[in-house]
C-alpha cells in the first residue's frame, strides 16, 4: 500500500431520512438533507479549497477559502457552513472566487515562514497544497509586515512539537481537543492578529497543561505547527498499512505510516469503526518499545534459574523446551504441564497455544490472562443472556440517554471510547458512576455525573441489589420486556428477593457507605431516563463476587428493558486488546473455542476429528490452581506466551513460589519480564507490528492486525508456537495466520463466516458471523436472548473475607492510569513514562493526617499477603478509609500486597479489595531489596553472543 492521505470531505457525514439534489459546477448530486455544500461538492468529486474544515470536526467557517457562489444567494457564502438544499445551483470555480481565495491565501502567506523545503510537513501540508490550488504567485504585501515568525516553539511534549510561527489559527487543534477528545486543554488566547493557540494558561506549555497527548490536535493540524517529533527526525512516511492497536480493548484502527522498516507515526484511521478516527497517548505514540534496546531477539535457555541465561539458536531452544516438556510428561503425567494464552496476542496465536496444550501436551491445563480480568464477564453473561460477551457496539453510545458506569475508569483505561462517552454526555445524556474513587468521568470539564455512588470497595452487589430494590418496589420494572423476553419464574424469585426490606437502600446504606436517597435517585434515573446503558470494567469483575456483580448488572438491564437495541445494553470494557478474542478462542481450561464446554461430546468430536487426537472431557487447571499444584509438586512445566504473571497476578510471593517450584518454565515475550526471572527457556516474541492476525475488541469486533515490519526475532509468535508443537511431535504446517483463522472458522460456529479475505474487504466483523448473522451482529439479543429466555439470577450480597481491622484498617483498591498500560512492559519503555514515573499511593487527607503523612512521603503499604513501599499522594479523589495505587512498575509491585482472595465462580483475583495499613517509611521494603537482587541475578546473560 502506498502513502496517500485519507480523503477529507471537509465536514462530517450526516444521516437523514431525506435527501436533496443540487447542481454543483454542472454536476448533479444527491446528498442527505443537512449535508453541507462543501461535502456535497467533495462527494461529487470536486475539490473546494479549505483549511479550517475537516470532516472529523464540526464546520467552523473561519478560513474563508471555501467561498462559493450560489444562484439566488447574495455574496459568496462559505460552502462549509451552507447547507445543500433542493435545486440549489452552486458554482465553486469562478474568476471572482479565484480572486477572493487568492486574496485570502496572500494574507496567510504574508505571515508564514517560507521554509517549505526544509519543513517537516513538506509535501504533507494543507497550506502548501492550498496555496498551489488557488494559484498564489505573489504576496504583494511583502514579508516585512507584522508577523509571528519569531514565535518560539514548544517542544515540551515528548511526542510532538508545537511551532506557533507556522500556525494559521484555524482552531482545528482546539476544536479537536474539545469535540473529539473532550479535554478542552487548548484554547485560542488573545484575539485578532494576536490570536494564538495556547495549551492551558499563559505560563503553561503542552506538557504542563491539561493535555492528555491523545494526538487529536496533531492529526487535525493542517500545517507543521503540531507535528510528530518522529516525522521531524525520520522524515515523511513512504507507505502506510492499516492495522489494529495492541493496547486496550477498544481496538482502535491505525494507519501505521512507515519509512522503510521504521514506523514514522501511527495515525488513527477515520474508517476505524471502534475509534472513528480518534486515538490515545498509548496507541498513537507509545510504539517505541518495538525497537527498544531491551527487546530480546535471540532465544535463551538455562538449566536452573540461578544460572545466567545462555543465548542459543532457535533450534536448540525449541528442542530443549520440547525435550524438557516430554520428560516432565513422562515423569509426572500430562497434567503436570500447562500453558497460558496471552490476551495481548492475536486470535490465531491464542488458538494455537490452546491447541498445543490440548493436542500436544494432552491436557486441558490452559488458561488466559482473562482469568485475572474478565473471566466473571464470561461466566455471568453466559448464565444470564447465553453469550459470554458484551451486547452492543461502541456506536450504540450515541443513542444512550443514561449511562451507568460501574467499576470502570474509562478516561484512563479506555480513553478513546471515553471520549465518545463524554461527547454523548455533553449532548445531555445523564450519568451515574459507581466507583469508590472520583475518577475523571465523574467530573471533568463539561461533564458531571448526576450521581456518583462512592461505594465502599467490595459492596458492588449490595449497591446493585439496592438499585434493583428501588426499581422493583417503586414499580419501575419494564414489565412488557420482562414478560416477553425473560423467564417468569426466575424473575419472580429475583423480584421477591430484591424487594425484601433487607435490600432497601435504607437498610444497605451503612454497608455501602452511600446515602440511601442517592441510591434511590440513581435507580429512578436509570429506570426512567430513557435508553440506559451499563458500562463496566475490572472494578466489577476483580472481586470475590465478580461473577455475581456481572449477573446483577444483567438483572438490572433486563428488569429495565435495556437490552436488544441501540443505546442500551451491558457493555464490559475489556482491559487488554484481545481479552474477548482470547476467551473466544478456547483459552479457558473448561471451554473449547466458541464457549463450548469440554464435556460436550459433540464439540469435542469436532476438534478430535480436525486435530486427530482425543480431548480430555474434564476441565483443566486455572492459573491460580496451576500455581497451587506447583507448590504441591504436582505441576512442573508451563508455556507462558506474552503474559507476565509475576507482576500482574495477585499475591506475588505465592506466584513466585509456584514458578520456582516448576522444572521448566517457558516464557515467550518481548522483554525479559519479571516472570522470566523464574524461566528456563526464553523465546523472543514479536510485537503487533511484526505479525499478521486478528484481534477481537470489547464490542466483539474482529479486526485485522497487519504486519508492517519484519519480526526482529525472525518469527511471528504463532510460528514459534508451531515450532514448539512440531518439536513435541505435532504435524502442523500453517504457512500463514489466515490458515489458522480458517481452522477457527471451521471449528467455531460463531466464527463460521470469518476469514482474512472478508476482513480485508469489509474492515471488521462483529461475531457471531454465521448463517444466522451473515454480516455479524453489532447488537445482540435483538429478537430474543441467545439462551432463549433471559435468566434472572438471585445474587445475594456475600461480603468478602477481606475485612479491615485494627492491623489493616484501610482498604486498598488498584487500577491503572492513562499513560501506562498494565504491567508497563511496553509503556515504561516509551516516553509515556514521563507522565507516570512511579506508582504512588493515593490517600485521603484525613487518613494521611492521622498518620502524619505529607504529600510525597515514602510509605509502607502492608497487607496480610505482603508489603511494599511507595510514595503517598494526598487527594480527596479517594474516600477516607480507602487507598489506591496502580501496578505499572515492578519496583513497586503492588501485587505483593494483594491477596489470594478471588471470585467464587471463576477465581478471578480480588485485586480491588485488600485490607492494608499505611505507615511512614524511609525506604524500600526487605522484599523489594531481595527481589531487586534476585531480579538482577536472574537477568544475567552469558556473553556468548554479546552484542
Amino acid at each position: 500500500m502506498g502513502y496517500e492521505p485519507q480523503a477529507d470531505f471537509g465536514t462530517p457525514a450526516v444521516t437523514a431520512q431525506t435527501r436533496v439534489s443540487l447542481l454543483i459546477d454542472g454536476r448533479a448530486i444527491s446528498v442527505p438533507t443537512g449535508t453541507t455544500v462543501m461535502r456535497a461538492a467533495a462527494l461529487a468529486g470536486g475539490s473546494i479549497p479549505k483549511l479550517c474544515a475537516t470532516d472529523t470536526l464540526k464546520q467552523f467557517g473561519s478560513c474563508r477559502l471555501c467561498l462559493v457562489e450560489i444562484d439566488g444567494m447574495r455574496g459568496t457564502p462559505a460552502s462549509c457552513t451552507t447547507l445543500a438544499s433542493e435545486g440549489m445551483v452552486v458554482h465553486t470555480q469562478t474568476s471572482r472566487l479565484e480572486k477572493l481565495r487568492r486574496g485570502v491565501m496572500e494574507l496567510y502567506i504574508s505571515d508564514h515562514p517560507l521554509d517549505c523545503l526544509t519543513c517537516s510537513a513538506n509535501n504533507d501540508c494543507e497550506l502548501q497544497d492550498t496555496a498551489a490550488q488557488v494559484g498564489l504567485r505573489d504576496v504583494r504585501y511583502g514579508y516585512q509586515g507584522d508577523n509571528h515568525l519569531g514565535a518560539a516553539p514548544d517542544q515540551s511534549n515528548p511526542y510532538f512539537d508545537f511551532d506557533p510561527s507556522k500556525c494559521i489559527v484555524c482552531s482545528r487543534c482546539v476544536r479537536a481537543c474539545d469535540e473529539v477528545q473532550g479535554t478542552f486543554a487548548l484554547t485560542i488566547a488573545g484575539r485578532g492578529f494576536e490570536s494564538k493557540v495556547s495549551a492551558g494558561v499563559a505560563s503553561d506549555d503542552f506538557f504542563s497543561s491539561e493535555c492528555v497527548s491523545c494526538g487529536a490536535c496533531v492529526a487535525a493540524c493542517p500545517t507543521a505547527t503540531l507535528n510528530e517529533k518522529a516525522v521531524t527526525a525520520i522524515g515523511k512516511p513512504e507507505r502506510a498499512v492499516i492495522t489494529t492497536c495492541a493496547y486496550c480493548g477498544v481496538g482502535c484502527t491505525f494507519r501505521a505510516e512507515m519509512r522503510g522498516e521504521q514506523v514514522v507515526r501511527m495515525v488513527p484511521w477515520k474508517d476505524g469503526k471502534a475509534n472513528r478516527g480518534h486515538s490515545c497517548v498509548k496507541g498513537r505514540f507509545a510504539w517505541g518499545y518495538a525497537r527498544h534496546q531491551d527487546r530480546i531477539t535471540t532465544p535463551m535457555i538455562r538449566n536452573a534459574i540461578t544460572e545466567p541465561w545462555r543465548e542459543v539458536s532457535w533450534d536448540e531452544a525449541i528442542s530443549f523446551a520440547a525435550s524438557e516438556f516430554k520428560r516432565i510428561a513422562a515423569q509426572h503425567g500430562n497434567n503436570a504441564l500447562g500453558g497460558i494464552v496471552s490476551s495481548r496476542c492475536t486470535n490465531e496465536e491464542g488458538f494455537l497455544v490452546q491447541k498445543l496444550v490440548r493436542a500436544g501436551f494432552g491436557t486441558n491445563n490452559v488458561d488466559t490472562c482473562a482469568r485475572v480480568c474478565h473471566s466473571p464477564t464470561g461466566y455471568g453473561l453466559k448464565n444470564t443472556f447465553g453469550t459470554s460477551a458484551g451486547t452492543q457496539d461502541f456506536d450504540s453510545v450515541e443513542a444512550c440517554d443514561v449511562m451507568l458506569v460501574i467499576g470502570a475508569n474509562p478516561t484512563d483505561g479506555h480513553p478513546v471510547f471515553a471520549s465518545r462517552m463524554k461527547r454523548r454526555l455533553r449532548q445531555g445524556a445523564k450519568l451515574i458512576v459507581i466507583d469508590p474513587r472520583r475518577t475523571d468521568i465523574v467530573r471533568s470539564p463539561h461533564i458531571e455525573a448526576d450521581y456518583h455512588l462512592a461505594l465502599r470497595p467490595g459492596t458492588n452487589v449490595a449497591v446493585l441489589t439496592a438499585l434493583a430494590h428501588v426499581i422493583v418496589t417503586e414499580g419501575l420494572v419494564d414489565e412488557a420486556f420482562v414478560r416477553d423476553r425473560c423467564d417468569q419464574d426466575e424473575f419472580r424469585d429475583w423480584a421477591e428477593f430484591v424487594a425484601d426490606a433487607r435490600h432497601s437502600p435504607e437498610f444497605l446504606a451503612p454497608v455501602i457507605g452511600v446515602a440511601a436517597q442517592d441510591l434511590r435517585g440513581a435507580a429512578r434515573l436509570f429506570a426512567t431516563g430513557g435508553n440506559g446503558a451499563i458500562y463496566y470494567g475490572l472494578g466489577v469483575t476483580e472481586h470475590s463476587q465478580g461473577s455475581s456483580t456481572v449477573m446483577a448488572i444483567a438483572n438490572l438491564a433486563m428488569a429495565t428493558g435495556n437490552i436488544g437495541r441501540r443505546g442500551v445494553g451491558v457493555n464490559p470494557l475489556r482491559g487488554q486488546n484481545n481479552v474477548q478474542g482470547a476467551c473466544d478462542m478456547g483459552s479457558f481450561p473448561h471451554e473449547l473455542s466458541g464457549y463450548r464446554h469440554v464435556s460436550d461430546p459433540a464439540a469435542r468430536a469436532l476438534f478430535e476429528a480436525e486435530w486427530g487426537v482425543p480431548i480430555d472431557p474434564e476441565p483443566g487447571l486455572r492459573i491460580p490452581n496451576m500455581l497451587d499444584a506447583a507448590t504441591d509438586g504436582l505441576f512442573k512445566g508451563i508455556y507462558i506466551q506474552g503474559e507476565d504473571i509475576l507482576q500482574s497476578d495477585p499475591d506475588t510471593r505465592h506466584v513466585a513460589a509456584g514458578l520456582a517450584a516448576m522444572e521448566c518454565v517457558i516464557v515467550q515475550d518481548l522483554f525479559l519480564n519479571e516472570t522470566a526471572n523464574y524461566a528456563h527457556v526464553f523465546l523472543p516474541g514479536s510485537t503487533f507490528l511484526e505479525k499478521s492476525g486478528t484481534f477481537t475488541n470489547a464490542e466483539r469486533r474482529i479486526q485485522m492486525v497487519r504486519k508492517v515490519m519484519e519480526p526482529l526475532n525472525g518469527f511471528e509468535d504463532w510460528q514459534v508456537t508451531q515450532a514448539l508443537a512440531r518439536a513435541m511431535g505435532l504435524d502442523w504446517n500453517y504457512t500463514h495466520a489466515r490458515e489458522i483463522m480458517d481452522e477457527i472458522a471451521r471449528l467455531t460456529p460463531t466464527f463460521a463466516g470469518v476469514s482474512f479475505a472478508r476482513l480485508d474487504a469489509e474492515g471488521s466483523l462483529q461475531w457471531p458471523v454465521n448463517a444466522a448473522f451473515p454480516d455479524g451482529a453489532p447488537i445482540m439479543h435483538v429478537d430474543g436472548f441467545v439462551r432463549g429466555k433471559g435468566k434472572f439470577v438471585v445474587t445475594d450480597y456475600v461480603p468478602t473475607d477481606e475485612r479491615t481491622g485494627p492491623r489493616y484498617p484501610l482498604l486498598l483498591t488498584t487500577g491503572r492510569i492513562l499513560s501506562q498500560y498494565n504491567v508497563g512492559a511496553q509503556t515504561r519503555r516509551t516516553e509515556n513514562a514521563r507522565w507516570h514515573l512511579e506508582d504512588v499511593l493515593e490517600i485521603h487527607p484525613s487518613d494521611a493526617e492521622n498518620r502524619g503523612l505529607r504529600d510525597g512521603d515514602w510509605v509502607r503499604l502492608a497487607s496480610r499477603a505482603g508489603e511494599t513501599t511507595l510514595r503517598a499522594q494526598i487527594t480527596d479523589r479517594v474516600a477516607p478509609g480507602v487507598v489506591y495505587t496502580t501496578f505499572h512498575h515492578p519496583t513497586t509491585q503492588a501485587n505483593v500486597v494483594t491477596t489470594d482472595n478471588s471470585d467464587w465462580a471463576t477465581n478471578c483475583p480480588e485485586y480491588k479489595v485488600t485490607a492494608v495499613q499505611v505507615t511512614p517509611s524511609n525506604g524500600p521494603s526487605q522484599w523489594q531489596l531481595d527481589y531487586d537482587a534476585q531480579s538482577d541475578a536472574a537477568r544475567r546473560i552469558t556473553a556468548t553472543a554479546a552484542e
Partner: protein, 512 residues
C-alpha cells in the same frame, strides 16, 4: 415659593456637570428632580423650570436663572424646533420622567403595550409586530416579526430573549439613552417579546463602558420584576469587545466564552443562547415594541419611507453644532439632518465628510446629502445607516487618517476567527501607512534574496499599493465572517474614493 427644577441624570448630562448644577439649585432651595434627557446635548446640562429650558448651565449660572436674568433660556422646551420637528415614539417620554419611577412610567403610558400584548396573546403580538414593519434597529434591518415567528415555532423547552445593548458604534447613544432614561420601556418590550415567543428568561447584554446604564437597568429590573413575572431578565456586562455587538459573538460572550463570531447557520432563532431558540434584538427594536402594541401596528407603519417603516432615533454627533438625539420617521435626507437639524459643524468650518453608521459606515461627502435616510437608499450608495449614528467632520479632517483608523479599529477589535479580518486588518493598516507616506513599497528583503527566483523583485508603486488596498477590501468585504471585517472596507474605500486628495491622489482617481 419652592420651585421644581428638572435636570437630567443621564451619563452625558453628568459628564457635562449636571450634578454640580443640580446641587446649586438644591442649595438655592429648589426641589430638584432628576429626569431623563431631552436629547439636546449641546444644551446639557439643561434645566427645566415649569416647561422652560435653560442651558447649557454651570453652577455659576444658577443664580441668574432663578433671578430670571439668565441669557441661557431657550423658552418652552417642547416648542424648541429640535424637539418640535421630531416624531417621538420610542423617546416619547424623554426628558419627562424620572427613569426609576414606576409612577412616572405608568403616568406616561407605560405598560399599556404589555397589557395589550397579554390581551391579544402571542400570535396576536407577532402579527402586530409583523404588520408594523418593524425592522431590527441594530444595523442589519431584519424584520423583527419574522425572527420572532421563527423562535415561536422552534420546539424547545427553554427559550431566551436577548437584548443587544452592546452599543459600540461611535456616534451612537440612543440605546444608552433608552437604558438610562426609560429603562422600563426596554423591559416592557422584552416582556412582550418573551410573551410572544414563549421565553422564560431574558438577558440584557450591556457594554461595560456604560456603567450608568447598567446601574439604572438593574434598579429598574428590581422594581419591574413583579410586573413582568414569570419572565425574568438579568443584566450581563460585556468586557470590552466591540465585536460582541455582533449577535453570535454576543451569545458566546453571554455563555461565558470568547466573543468569537459563530458561523450561521444555525441561526440564533433556532440555536441561540445555550443552543436554545433565542430572540436577539437591539435595544431600539425592543423599545419600539410597547408603542406598537399600545398604538397599533397601523399607526407605526403609517410612518416611514419605502420598506423602512416607523421612526428611527437618529444620533447627531461629532463636529456638529446641534448634537443629540433626533427621532423621526425614515426618509429625511442626510442634508436635512446634518445641515438643518444639526446646524452644520460646531467649528463653523465647512462640512468635509459625514460618516453614517459608525466605524463600519461609509464616509460621505456633501454630494450625498440628497440621500433619504433609509436602509435601502444607503445600501445602494455603498453605505449603510447601521444604528443611525451620524458623525460630522469639518475640513480639518484628513480622510486617509480616518481610513487608516477604520483598519486599525478593525485590527484592535477583530475577534480573530476569520482570516480576512484577522490578518487583513493589520495588513490594511500597513498598506494605508505606505499610501499615506506616498512611498509605495521598497524592495522587500525577502523577495530580494537570490533564492527567491519566482518572487517579483523590486518595489511596488503607489498605484500598485492602491490596487492592493482595493483588493484587500474586496477580500475582507466578501470573505469575512461577520460585519466587522465585512464592512470595514466601507469607510476605507469611501474615504479613498470620495477624498482621493487626502491620499495624495488626483481627484480623478476617485472614479474606478
Amino acid at each position: 415659593m419652592t420651585r421644581t427644577v428638572r435636570i437630567s441624570n443621564d451619563a452625558l448630562a453628568l459628564a457635562c456637570g449636571a450634578d454640580h448644577v443640580a446641587a446649586a439649585f438644591a442649595a438655592a432651595g429648589c426641589v430638584v428632580e432628576r429626569v431623563s434627557s431631552w436629547g439636546m446635548h449641546w444644551l446639557e446640562p439643561l434645566a427645566e423650570i415649569a416647561g422652560e429650558g435653560f442651558g447649557p448651565l454651570t453652577a455659576d449660572d444658577v443664580a441668574a436663572v432663578l433671578a430670571g436674568t439668565s441669557a441661557l433660556g431657550i423658552g418652552a422646551i417642547a416648542a424648541h424646533p429640535f424637539i418640535a420637528r421630531q416624531q417621538r415614539f420610542t423617546f416619547a417620554r424623554a426628558g419627562q420622567t424620572r427613569p426609576l419611577s414606576l409612577d412616572d412610567y405608568a403616568a406616561h403610558g407605560g405598560w399599556a403595550g404589555l397589557d395589550a400584548a397579554r390581551r391579544i396573546g402571542p400570535d396576536g403580538v407577532i402579527g402586530e409586530v409583523t404588520r408594523s414593519g418593524l425592522r431590527g434597529r441594530g444595523g442589519a434591518g431584519f424584520p423583527a416579526g419574522i425572527k420572532w415567528t421563527t423562535v415561536a415555532k422552534a420546539p424547545a423547552a427553554r427559550k431566551y430573549v436577548v437584548c443587544n445593548a452592546d452599543e459600540g458604534d461611535s456616534a451612537t447613544f440612543a440605546d444608552r439613552m433608552v437604558m438610562e432614561g426609560d429603562p422600563f420601556g426596554l423591559i416592557e418590550g422584552m416582556a412582550i417579546a418573551a410573551h410572544a415567543v414563549g421565553a422564560q428568561m431574558g438577558y440584557i447584554y450591556v457594554r461595560s463602558e456604560y456603567p450608568h446604564a447598567i446601574a439604572t437597568l438593574r434598579g429598574a429590573l428590581d422594581l419591574a420584576a413583579p410586573i413582568i413575572a414569570p419572565f425574568r431578565i438579568e443584566v450581563r456586562v460585556g468586557a470590552g469587545s466591540y465585536v460582541c455587538g455582533e449577535e453570535t459573538a454576543l451569545l458566546n460572550s453571554l455563555e461565558g466564552r470568547r466573543g468569537e463570531v459563530r458561523a450561521k447557520p444555525p441561526l440564533p432563532a433556532i440555536e441561540g443562547l445555550f443552543g436554545q431558540p433565542t430572540v436577539v434584538n437591539n435595544v431600539l427594536t425592543l423599545a419600539a415594541v410597547p408603542w406598537i402594541m399600545a398604538h397599533g401596528s397601523a399607526a407605526y407603519a403609517a410612518v416611514g419611507y419605502g420598506r423602512s417603516r416607523g421612526t428611527m432615533p437618529i444620533q447627531l454627533a461629532g463636529n456638529v453644532r446641534y448634537g443629540g438625539l433626533f427621532e423621526a420617521g425614515f426618509g429625511m435626507t442626510l442634508g436635512e439632518l446634518v445641515m438643518e437639524i444639526g446646524g452644520g459643524t460646531a467649528s463653523g468650518r465647512p462640512v468635509h465628510a459625514v460618516q453614517v453608521g459608525g466605524p463600519l459606515g461609509a464616509y460621505h461627502t456633501p454630494a450625498d446629502f440628497h440621500l433619504p435616510f433609509d436602509y435601502e437608499s444607503f445600501a445602494a450608495a455603498d453605505g449603510l445607516i447601521g444604528h443611525a449614528g451620524i458623525t460630522v467632520f469639518d475640513d480639518s479632517a484628513d480622510m486617509s487618517a480616518q481610513a487608516r483608523f477604520a483598519m486599525q479599529f478593525c485590527a484592535v477589535e477583530s475577534c480573530g476567527k476569520c482570516t480576512p479580518c484577522r490578518i487583513g486588518s493589520t495588513r490594511g493598516v500597513e498598506v494605508i501607512d505606505r499610501i499615506r507616506a506616498r512611498s509605495g513599497r521598497g524592495a522587500d528583503p525577502v523577495e530580494s534574496l537570490p533564492q527567491m527566483h519566482n518572487a517579483r523583485k523590486g518595489g511596488r508603486s503607489l498605484a500598485e499599493d492602491i490596487t492592493l488596498l482595493e483588493d484587500l477590501c474586496e477580500t475582507m468585504k466578501f470573505g469575512s465572517l461577520c460585519a466587522l471585517g465585512g464592512f470595514t472596507p466601507y469607510p476605507v474605500l469611501s474615504a479613498l474614493r470620495n477624498f482621493p486628495q487626502d491620499f495624495g491622489l488626483p481627484a480623478a482617481a476617485a472614479a474606478e
